[in-house]
């Protein structure tokens, strides 16, 4: 073939390369493609037929594949009369369809019905089946065999067309993958040998990419020449099948099924995707009630609330409920932290098989009234804006089968097991009645059978009394002198409960409530600064100071934070808890009642009101007689002489309470924050953009390669006409700018190319090429970058 010299304005001429091919024997190609087709067809059909247990023997399948793969390879490898050979098998199928129409239809319907019934069995759905007349076993077998025959023929034809004619490994993968996808959609796994075969086939397609992919012959791109490796297809290349098999065996050894356990993180991600991903973004993990690892006191400053809903709760408890999300046992001077490893281990050892989080419920279960259904209530929490990893749960929660989604943290609180996305909703069961309201009135009769529980309780009590009364060294003296200066000693008060009340009153009298206390200065201890210098703060300040004062007085105490749910209304409806419902309190430990919450923030009384704590409306003045504060009638703190819970004893006014979805304060609009799905939408959007970009790029490459092919056509007249069409397209884009319209000479040449029987010379053809290049160069220089992008990728002008 005469090569076209690349004429340039210099002395060196290097022509475009021409492909010289050595003659490769037909059988070399045949024995390369035939085993591949056999493997691909067998593996795909084995996967399909064995997954649905269809009544076709594997040996028959293999023989069908053997026949049709050989036939397809022979036909597609013919160089002459290709169209005829390509249509041979489809025509054979058509002929067979006409002769055995009813049997083929029966076989198809029977197979489809088997697939549908497998789907129904797997999924529990009811799916419509195809109408099939009643057939006996012989007829079923014959119809199935015919259908198998036809399916094998179609598959082999498709695989041969993909591998031999189109040189596309991807198409071969797709055709074989369809038959695997049909069962896998409903998680119906074919047997291992079929899966192994298809994996070997796909692995071989990948390894043989240099041979199997790429358009045949010599392709010229803008900067280089590509020659496909189709002529490297020879039988000696097939040991890759063995290599892939060995690789699969090696892979199975390095990650064997016996030792495999699915990582937790994958389940978490999967759960998050299915149930709505709640990403733990900073705005959901910082702030009161949102921490679940530690509370940084140094970062606390002024508080601002937006009224955005954090939680939605549905409860049947007719009283307020402390929903604890976190508790801190170790005070560092700048933060509340969780226990150390040693303390944790000691607590576990003391508790044995018991969980401290269920201690209150375990104790309550000893009471006779605990057997009544009326003392049980359910609480559903839907997390819409708080930290998704936090689990906000009541103190008297029972062990109600939430172990699949919640896990205890130390001996303090719960968190979700899904470490990435948390849980958006959970329902718990807890115990409550008016009689149970005062833990100190619980008379727990321990039975002999409960001796294990009793010993755990005693051991744990000893641990708590030792550990949760500890203070940092630098705080011991100042706090003890604070207490002694004010007569806040156990010896001066009748009981620990009275001491607790006195301490709280003392703190209230010294410090004022405000949402703008400022930041604790660097180098200062948070509590000392609050108690002695600043003397103003909000719930976190009061809770921290009170917890440490309790400890200094010898009462085991911890810092706790979460949300306070208001009492349920007459109908159990959803209640919105906005961000200002987040609260911090203290929990103290007594052996007969476990950990109980103590309200230490001035002005908050969950016993008298049915509304959630509204920090925004609280007057900063310490005077209880502020006319704006409807609760000012009862200036005493919420810790009554007889109780340590925020709800005092017995007779309670009938509860009213707020029911959702009305806003909790007049004039305030509740902002419902639904579980944010925006991360998922964002991901889908970005993924869509990526796919679209990929499609645009592929489309452009495809169009450009087709154009290049047309330009380098052996028929110079055709090539000239392709150039001409492209030049006109470019001229139409910029009709009034750019190089002048085509000269008459070029027009004449175009007419000659179109109508004359003479072929243009290479020099004449190069005129078109030069003109096209001039147009493209002009466009590239002239148009704006955005327009250039549109020309390249949308219109594919160049």
């Amino acid at each position: 073939m005469k090569q076209k010299p690349v004429e340039k304005a210099q002395g060196l001429f290097l022509s475009e390369p021409a492909l010289l091919t050595r003659k490769v024997s037909f059988f070399s190609f045949f024995f390369f493609y035939f085993p591949l087709l056999l493997l691909g067809g067998c593996s795909a059909l084995f996967c399909f037929y064995t997954a649905f247990s269809l009544p076709v023997s594997l040996s028959r399948l293999f023989l069908c594949n053997l026949l049709f793969s050989a036939l397809s390879a022979l036909l597609f490898l013919q160089k002459k009369h290709r169209a005829l050979y390509t249509l041979c098998l489809p025509l054979l199928l058509l002929a067979g369809s006409l002769i055995f129409a009813s049997q083929l239809r029966a076989g198809l319907f029977y197979t489809v019905n088997r697939v549908i019934s497998a789907y129904m069995e797997r999924s529990g759905l009811t799916l419509p089946a195809l109408p099939l007349e009643i057939l006996d076993r012989k007829e079923i077998l014959f119809s199935s065999a015919l259908f198998t025959f036809a399916l094998t023929l179609i598959l082999q034809w498709a695989l041969s067309w993909a591998l031999i004619r189109k040189n596309s490994g991807f198409l071969a993968f797709a055709f074989s993958g369809i038959l695997l996808l049909v069962p896998m959609v409903f998680s119906i796994e074919p047997p291992p040998f079929a899966l192994a075969m298809i994996l070997i086939f796909w692995g071989s397609l990948l390894l043989l990419r240099p041979v199997l992919t790429g358009e045949k012959g010599l392709i010229k791109t803008r900067r280089s020449f590509h020659i496909s490796g189709a002529l490297a297809a020879r039988a000696a290349a097939l040991p890759v099948l063995l290599l892939v098999s060995l690789f699969l065996v090696f892979a199975s050894h390095t990650a064997s099924e016996e030792h495999y356990s699915r990582p937790r993180v994958m389940d978490d991600i999967r759960s998050g995707v299915f149930h709505g991903a709640q990403f733990p973004v900073p705005e959901r993990t910082k702030g009161i009630g949102k921490n679940n690892t530690s509370v940084d006191l140094k970062e606390l400053g002024d508080r601002n609330y937006t009224g955005k809903t954090m939680l939605r709760v549905k409860t049947s408890k007719p009283a307020s409920d402390y929903l604890k999300g976190f508790c801190g046992s170790v005070y560092t001077g700048e933060s509340w932290e969780q226990r150390s490893e040693e303390q944790n281990a000691a607590a576990k050892a003391a508790l044995g098989s018991e969980k401290a989080q269920f201690l209150n419920a375990r104790l309550l279960f000893q009471l006779p009234m605990a057997e009544e259904d009326s003392v049980r209530y359910s609480l559903t929490v839907r997390n819409v804006g708080a930290n998704p990893r936090c689990a906000y749960l009541p103190y008297t929660m029972t062990e109600s089968g939430l172990s699949s989604i919640l896990e205890p943290v130390e001996d303090g609180f719960f968190q979700t097991k899904n470490r990435i996305f948390g849980e958006s909703e959970y329902t718990v069961s807890a115990l409550w009645s008016w009689e149970m309201e005062n833990p100190f009135s619980w008379q727990i009769p321990f039975h002999q059978s409960e001796s294990d529980f009793l010993s755990s309780l005693i051991g744990y009590s000893k641990f708590v009394n030792k550990t949760d009364t500890q203070l940092p060294e630098q705080l011991k003296e100042p706090l003890e002198s604070y207490l002694s200066d004010r007569g806040l000693l156990l010896s001066h008060h009748g009981s620990p409960r009275q001491l607790i009340k006195a301490i709280v009153e003392a703190v209230h009298s010294q410090c004022t409530y405000t949402l703008s206390p400022g930041v604790c200065p660097q180098g200062e201890d948070f509590v000392l600064y609050f108690l002695l210098t600043g003397k103003k703060g909000y719930c976190v300040h009061f809770a921290t100071a009170a917890a440490l004062l309790f400890r200094a007085a010898g009462i085991p105490a911890r810092y706790a934070e979460g949300y306070v749910a208001p009492p349920a209304g007459e109908e159990a409806e959803w209640i919105d808890l906005p961000d200002h419902s987040a609260h911090a309190w203290v929990e103290v430990y007594f052996q007969n009642c476990g950990w109980v919450p103590v309200e230490v923030t001035p002005g908050l009384d969950f016993s008298q009101t049915s509304q959630p704590p509204d920090h925004t409306e609280f007057s900063p003045s310490p005077s209880p007689s502020s006319p704006e504060d409807p609760r000012a009638e009862d200036p005493s703190p919420t810790v009554s002489p007889e109780t340590v819970t925020p709800t005092p004893e017995s007779s309670r006014p009938p509860v009213g309470g707020i029911t959702s979805p009305e806003p909790s304060q007049p004039g305030e609009t509740a902002q419902i924050a639904e579980a944010p799905h925006w991360p998922l939408f964002l991901f889908l959007f970005l993924f869509g953009i990526l796919c679209l970009s990929g499609l645009l790029v592929l489309r452009r490459r495809r169009l450009l390669s087709r154009r290049e092919k047309a330009f380098s056509s052996k028929n110079r007249n055709e090539a000239a006409l392709s150039y001409y069409a492209r030049i006109l397209a470019l001229q139409n884009y910029l009709p009034f700018e750019g190089p002048p319209p085509l000269s008459e000479a070029l027009e004449d040449l175009a007419r000659k190319a179109r109508f004359s029987q003479h072929t243009l010379t290479p020099q004449e053809l190069s005129l078109f090429e030069n003109r096209l290049n001039a147009h493209i160069a002009f466009l590239e220089k002239t148009v704006s970058p955005l327009e250039r992008w549109c020309c390249r990728y949308l219109r594919v002008l160049f």
Partner: protein, 376 residues
């Protein structure tokens, strides 16, 4: 390779998605296999990547200007496994004119294919074909590395000589240098004694060395030297565009051919790109080695040709400067360096001008005409 990596990324993404949503061991196995597969592919392809060979062959080693030769490129594999893709960047360079053409090809090693190019040059020079880059890829096309490869082929494109005639006018100002006589052949120049030998019958009696003969007791004959004809110094200044270089090379070829026929000795003086000076006598035998040297040379083009410490063989009587530039300043410098020599210049400028005294303007059209009437 970016495309292959993107495709692999997509496969990995799909297998990860499969692993995420499908709970069984199969999904993990597939994901694990996809993660390991590139490494496996690299290991399997290594023998082919390391053993792949490229060969470059030129059909002819010497061509005329405009004559075509075939350049063949093959990527072969001595092992039976299928080869991966290879990328070749081939360059063809005319070392004299500096022109270069490059081409990049992607092949599959081991395929029964070769690439064939047609190569030709309008200008003379050494055409050096080289594989500048040989990059081998693994089967998946994810990894690659460069292989060092020395594969080159060269062909010489010789200049075209036209009939020329150089007339050297006598130059009495130049003394014949020492050794201007033939060192191995006696002659008849009485001014220089070649040697003494025994008298042979037929020798001239006037040349018998009577004094020595008396002493030696036998007749001794005085042989005289053979004076060599005047040597021409040809100075080359080929710092110009390929067209002019080629024109002057044609002129040089024509002159050397003519001088060689006449048996006139000459020397060639030129300066290489780095500044090194070369002065080579033109031997009587084949000019081919000289031409191979000249055609492979990159000539000096940074500044005046005669800058620095330049000296010539003393006693040069005739010197001809072949220059691509305007020779006026070069001739001036040359007159100072060779004050006694007869100087002239042949220059190839884009536009033909009228020949001036001792400066002859060359072009393609008047090459033969000028060289036939050249006088120095």
């Amino acid at each position: 390779m970016a495309k292959n990596r993107l495709e692999y990324g997509v496969i990995l993404l799909f297998s990860a998605t499969f692993y995420l949503f499908f709970l069984g061991y199969l999904s993990f196995y597939v994901f694990w296999a996809v993660v390991l597969f590139p490494l496996f592919s690299l290991i399997c392809s290594l023998p082919c990547m390391l053993c792949a060979k490229v060969s470059l062959q030129l059909e002819k080693s010497a061509v005329r200007k405009g004559e075509e030769t075939t350049l063949k490129l093959t990527a072969s594999l001595p092992v039976f496994l299928p080869g991966g893709r290879v990328r070749l960047r081939v360059s063809v360079q005319n070392l004299l004119t500096g022109e270069k053409e490059e081409e990049t090809c992607f092949l599959t090693s081991g395929a029964a294919e070769a690439l064939s190019h047609t190569l030709s040059s309008r200008y003379c020079g050494k055409l050096l074909c080289r594989v500048e880059e040989f990059r081998v890829y693994d089967y998946l096309g994810l990894f690659s590395f460069r292989r060092r490869l020395r594969s080159e082929a060269a062909a010489f494109c010789f200049p075209r000589a036209v009939p020329a005639s150089l007339t050297l006018l006598p130059n009495p100002a130049a003394d014949p240098p020492d050794g201007h006589y033939s060192p191995d052949t006696p002659g008849d120049d009485p001014s220089e004694l070649f040697g003494i030998r025994e008298y042979r019958e037929g020798d001239r009696l006037s040349r018998i060395h009577w004094k020595l003969s008396e002493k030696a007791g036998t007749l001794l004959y005085k042989e005289m030297s053979l004076p060599l004809p005047e040597e021409v110094l040809l100075l080359l200044d080929l710092s110009g565009d390929p067209e002019r270089q080629d024109c002057l090379m044609d002129a040089l070829a024509s002159l050397l051919s003519s001088l060689s026929k006449e048996g006139r000795p000459c020397r060639i003086w030129y300066r290489e790109k780095q500044g090194a000076v070369r002065e080579k006598p033109v031997s009587k035998g084949s000019l081919s080695p000289l031409w191979k040297d000249l055609l492979s040379t990159e000539f000096f083009s940074q500044g005046p040709l005669f800058s620095g410490d330049i000296s010539f063989t003393p006693g040069t009587s005739h010197a001809l400067l072949l220059s691509c530039q305007n020779p006026a300043s070069s001739l001036g410098t040359l007159r100072q360096l060779l004050p006694e020599a007869r100087l002239a210049a042949l220059t190839a400028l884009p536009s033909v001008q009228e020949s001036q005294e001792s400066v002859f303007f060359l072009s393609r059209d008047n090459l033969g005409k000028v060289l036939k009437a050249l006088t120095l």
